[in-house]
């Protein structure tokens, strides 16, 4: 049979936590073309900058996403601080680094759970999330929130973490490392996992770069780009190299995220060893005037915030380019040639966050 059939995939689908739609043009079981659609839950949050005081908007920015909420809030604060030339205390920069990396660990563990669930490995899903729960407990103990931290503010952070607690966090993470190794070894060595991931959805280095891919999707294709290398927050004082893999397939994207979990644990250890004493915020007076682009590295990749202000309490424009949005062209590229049964796993390998994309 050589006829073509178009199959609508999503927006409601058992493996999609959020609404994403694909029109899949099929020849038998093989995808010939894929056309994604989003926009089912677009919230227009960027438009609220015209109605919220620039100091209060951090609450909205945090709610763009329920997974990397802290990094959204932090990036927004960094944009305002850049425009207003505010130098935040060093200790605040270190605390921002610790919370950023905790966000990355829990996000990657969440992704591992979703992916194992997508290829039918329920037990692995539950065990991955069991460990993630412990990371959320640390976040809850230090911020009071599990999803929305509410800890970042323009001028620093709202709350400190005492040094004894910081040391205890490092000790806990070291304790969890063995559990994480045990679980992630299954992803890396189990034949059924490898069967689903190796060689599927290949994105070459040239394609990943040309398509503007971001984060683990880009680095799994061999491009060593990680916005933490810009040195924002305390990353200028943290020794690390971007985690890269060369194969560009689903397995490589999985390996990058697994290795980044251990990299983040190491970064938190470095930050705790180097964190200086001192205040965690400065008083902010006046209103921003000017425009700026700020880039940070979320768990899913580079996020770009553009802020434009004219000296009033309300910004003229806030634009947020999220990593999921940047990775959609890469998704369109990797689907053709794959089988229908691989679609859920392939979509998940870019770690789509529709909440971010539909900000």
């Amino acid at each position: 049979m050589s006829g073509r059939t178009t199959i609508p995939f999503g927006p409601q689908h058992p493996v999609f936590p959020e609404p994403l739609h694909l029109d899949l043009v099929m020849e038998d079981e093989v995808i010939v073309e894929a056309l994604p659609s989003i926009g089912f839950v677009h919230r227009g949050l960027e438009g609220l900058v015209n109605r919220k005081d620039f100091l209060d908007f951090v609450y909205i920015a945090e709610r763009i996403c329920g997974i990397c909420s802290f990094i959204h809030g932090m990036t927004y604060c960094m944009a305002i601080e850049e425009i207003m030339k505010i130098e935040i205390p060093p200790r605040a920069n270190y605390l921002r680094t610790v919370w950023s990396e905790l966000s990355r660990i829990h996000s990657h563990l969440m992704w591992l759970g979703f992916t194992s669930d997508a290829f039918g490995f329920e037990n692995l899903f539950m065990n991955t999330w069991r460990i993630r729960e412990k990371i959320l407990d640390i976040i809850e103990a230090t911020t009071g929130g599990r999803v929305i931290f509410g800890s970042c503010k323009v001028g620093g952070v709202r709350r400190d973490i005492d040094n004894a607690t910081l040391v205890d966090i490092v000790r806990k993470l070291e304790d969890y490392t063995q559990d994480i190794e045990e679980i992630t070894n299954i992803f890396l060595k189990d034949s059924s996992v490898k069967h689903r991931l190796i060689g599927t959805g290949v994105l070459t280095k040239e394609e990943a770069y040309a398509l503007g891919a971001a984060g683990p999707t880009l680095r799994a294709s061999g491009v060593a780009q990680d916005m933490r290398k810009l040195g924002y927050a305390a990353f200028k004082d943290i020794v690390f190299e971007p985690v890269i893999e060369q194969d560009g397939d689903s397995y490589a994207r999985c390996k990058v995220r697994i290795r980044e979990i251990f990299c983040s644990i190491d970064m938190i250890g470095q930050a705790v060893r180097k964190i200086p004493k001192g205040p965690v915020e400065v008083k902010v007076t006046g209103a921003p005037s000017g425009e700026i682009f700020v880039r940070t590295e979320q768990p899913r990749g580079e996020v770009i915030y553009y802020a434009k202000a004219n000296g009033e309490r309300f910004l003229q424009r806030l634009r947020v380019r999220t990593p999921t949005f940047a990775n959609i062209p890469a998704l369109v590229k990797i689907l053709p040639g794959c089988e229908l049964a691989d679609v859920p796993v392939l979509v998940l390998t870019i770690d789509p966050c529709i909440s971010c994309a539909e900000r």
Partner: protein, 124 residues
């Protein structure tokens, strides 16, 4: 925090050729954004080895129309469809044209008007 970033104003008639030069120089397209003021301000941002630069194009609100750059950077289609659906700017010959169906918004072109006059707690 951030490394130096350039913002260069550009005219519509040289937009495509300038962007083709950037592609040939090894820059990747990082984003395309739009701001509604008296006119539309479009920013095309590029990155190479962490060096970030943007081209700013001013487009009059009346009959706003710009050329696509998706022939140069294929991934531009996603940004161009977004700009069309949220701001109402016509973009000719997008590589993958959703024809206004990329976003399913309740209000047509919700960011197409200058909202900066409506300040305060309205609508909360």
């Amino acid at each position: 925090m951030s490394r130096e970033q350039k913002m260069i104003n550009i005219e519509k008639d040289i937009l495509v050729s300038r962007i083709a030069e950037l592609r040939d120089s090894g820059y990747r397209l990082a984003q395309i954004g739009c701001t509604t003021l008296e006119d539309f301000e479009l920013t095309y941002s590029f990155d190479r080895d962490y060096r970030f630069m943007s081209l700013k194009l001013i487009v009059p609100r009346e009959g706003a129309e710009i050329p696509t750059i998706s022939g140069i950077y294929w991934n531009a289609f996603i940004y161009e469809n977004e700009i069309h659906d949220l701001f109402g700017i016509k973009i000719k010959n997008i590589a993958v044209d959703y024809k206004g169906n990329f976003y399913h918004t309740a209000v047509k072109f919700p960011f197409g008007r200058d909202n900066t006059g409506r300040k305060g707690e309205e609508g909360q």
